[in-house]
């Protein structure tokens, strides 16, 4: 199969399994995804869905003694799965940058901001100390920090939450990586700061033509920023499509339920929609049948596939299992 020209990442049959006792359990199961240049791909899911595990598998941050990764993560004909540490270190920071959720924890409390950003450059460029410092100041300006010279010499605790997240972004983009992974980049921030950080990410993407994988649980953030969306439930992608498709014609029962449980309604008398049951834990989600079936018990078993696969409903819009065809909420009449 020919690789489309602007494709950056091609993830095929990715499984990431964690060791619990002596056994390995898939936290990410059979994920197939591509990331293109100039796009924001959002991966949405609740805690335990495997979305963060997927991100850290791509950038290779798992301890391989307790984690088993199989499948392919193809980047420029290079398979990142099973890549040795020396080679992976050349990719991390240089080709793939990562932005973390909690900007205070993500920065070394005892190291000056300038040094922390410069560290990325130290291992991926041939710049000397002076050139690196110059580039760091340039980066601080680029991420919208008002006084780069001062911040350069400051420590993380001296900055506000929003400024810290800008520093974390500066670290991630220091080497202009074509791929950026942002794991809940705005969850720890106030909404007004969140808006600024999301704008910044979009601007950076437009400047560098990178592809961004945005991991989030916040449907609003997805709707405002993403081009394509993959919805994850219990380690699997259950629906994938353009942002319009997902928000305007959601198909999978899980996507529809999530959207319905949002407190967006203008009336206060109605109760919010609650998805029955709970998210299965790692050990209990390892099933071959439809993993969401237990949460929609009013849907007959015959509506589900025995071994659900992804179906392309319209070009680029995929849904797992056949249950979407007959799905209705339990307070609605049958379709």
């Amino acid at each position: 199969m020919d690789k489309p020209e602007n494709q950056l990442l091609d993830i095929q049959h990715l499984h990431t399994a964690f060791r619990v006792g002596d056994d390995f359990y898939d936290a990410v199961e059979d994920v197939n995804l591509t990331l293109n240049r100039d796009e924001i791909l959002a991966i949405v899911g609740e805690s335990g869905s495997g979305k963060s595990t997927l991100a850290t598998s791509v950038i290779g941050l798992h301890n391989l003694q307790n984690t088993k990764i199989t499948g392919d993560i193809l980047y420029n004909d290079l398979n990142l799965v099973g890549l040795n540490e020396t080679l992976y270190n050349r990719i991390r920071g240089n080709d793939i940058g990562m932005i973390f959720q909690d900007p205070l924890a993500a920065l070394n409390p005892l190291m000056r901001i300038g040094e922390q950003i410069g560290e990325t450059l130290l291992y991926h460029t041939k710049l000397n100390k002076e050139e690196r410092d110059h580039r760091v100041l340039e980066l601080l300006g680029q991420v919208g920090i008002p006084n780069p010279v001062r911040v350069f010499k400051q420590y993380p605790h001296e900055l506000s939450g929003g400024m810290r997240q800008r520093v974390v972004i500066a670290i991630a983009i220091a080497c202009k990586p074509p791929i950026l992974i942002a794991d809940e980049p705005t969850t720890a921030l106030d909404v007004t700061i969140q808006a600024q950080i999301l704008d910044l990410l979009e601007n950076i993407q437009q400047e560098t033509h990178s592809g961004i994988i945005l991991i989030t649980h916040d449907l609003g953030v997805v709707a405002e920023t993403a081009d394509r969306v993959a919805v994850m439930y219990a380690g699997q992608i259950v629906e994938q499509g353009t942002v319009q498709a997902i928000f305007e014609h959601p198909l999978h029962p899980y996507t529809r339920s999530l959207l319905r449980s949002m407190p967006q309604a203008d009336n206060d008398s109605d109760d919010l929609y609650v998805i029955e049951g709970t998210v299965p834990d790692l050990k209990h989600m390892q099933t071959d049948d439809c993993r969401f079936a237990a949460r929609i018990p009013w849907i007959p078993a015959s509506a589900h596939e025995a071994h659900p696969t992804m179906h392309e409903v319209e070009p680029g819009h995929f849904v797992r299992c056949t249950c979407y065809k007959t799905f209705h909420f339990n307070d609605e009449a049958e379709a």
Partner: protein
């Protein structure tokens, strides 16, 4: 008369500096706020981090000492310890916290956690106490065998419900809920919010609902206040705040909430940029010279805004 009335509440922290560690300045965490919570009502308190919203909540339950001002409960000032005792205030007012894991003692069983407030205020025989805990667990929809487990054995949503069970154990009149669902996933958040409404109806509880999430507050509260820098910038009903916001701070907050309509996102974004620019440009119109939020001015019977010349609503004359 409202269940609880907050009158010109101020909480100032001293800043000490200099050689003799003298008080040289104050942090005005809460700086003169007024509001009432009616019986059976959920009052929303919205603010970003550092706005003083949590400090307000803590002052109401008594975890924070008021510098000045009054907290009137059934018409009497409960900042005076004598009145608190007389009115059984500590029993009638309880709190739910954001972080359900760190607010529940990890070394105690659920039974002891839930029974703790009961033990403080009532003296029940062990069998009666067990029965009461069982009832409370039943109210929050948890099985009776949860009693003998420890907090870490439950999920975030379950722990939050345990926190609620503890809060309602003394049949309180008011629960101060500080970001009760911020740490929860969407589907679990829905469960907890529904549940809070349910017990409100059943036991006629009032809530002070403190949150940064405008969507959640809109769903839960009919009356609310927007707080920043220790003061209220806008007070009103849900409609006043969400449909006719007058203060630039409120407008900016509202425009920053991401909408789930991708089709209109370009419009939303330009709208947000416009409000942001306005906020930067005109903030001197909305704040005093020292950055202090102006005094509230009434624009309609329900709606007040902290600006110089507010647009008076409804007065078409």
């Amino acid at each position: 008369m409202a269940l609880i009335e907050i009158r010109d509440l101020k909480i100032h922290y001293p800043i000490r500096s200099g050689f003799f560690n003298r008080v040289t300045d104050h942090v005005l965490a809460v700086d003169g706020i007024n509001f009432d919570i009616e019986e059976g009502e959920t009052y929303g308190l919205i603010g970003e981090s550092g706005s003083g919203k949590s400090t307000t909540g803590k002052a109401i339950v008594g975890l924070e000492k008021a510098t000045s001002g009054q907290i009137l409960y059934k018409g009497e000032d409960v900042t005076k310890p004598r009145n608190r005792k007389k009115l059984q205030y500590n029993r009638d007012v309880q709190m739910i916290f954001q972080d359900s894991l760190s607010s529940l003692n990890p070394k105690k069983r659920i039974k002891d956690i839930i029974a703790e407030p009961i033990r403080n205020f009532e003296h029940l025989a062990p069998a009666d106490e067990t029965k009461r805990v069982q009832e409370l667990l039943d109210i929050v929809g948890m099985p009776a065998d949860a009693m003998y487990k420890y907090p870490h054995e439950f999920s975030g949503g379950q722990r939050q419900r345990i926190g609620i069970a503890r809060a309602v154990s003394t049949n309180p009149k008011l629960i101060v809920a500080d970001e009760p669902v911020s740490a929860l996933d969407l589907s679990v958040q829905a469960q907890v919010l529904n549940f809070m409404k349910e017990i409100q109806k059943e036991f006629n509880i009032s809530y002070l609902f403190i949150s940064h999430d405008l969507g959640v507050v809109k769903h839960m509260c009919r009356n609310m206040a927007i707080m920043t820098r220790g003061r209220f910038v806008e007070v009103g009903t849900r409609e006043d705040i969400y449909q006719h916001p007058q203060h630039i701070y409120t407008q900016r907050l509202l425009s920053a909430i991401p909408k789930i309509t991708p089709a209109s996102r370009m419009i939303d974004k330009s709208n947000r940029k416009r409000v942001e620019a306005l906020y930067q440009e005109e903030s001197s119109k909305y704040y005093g010279p020292d950055g202090k939020v102006l005094d509230l001015k009434q624009v309609s019977p329900t709606h007040s805004v902290a600006i110089q010349d507010p647009v008076v609503e409804g007065g078409q004359s």
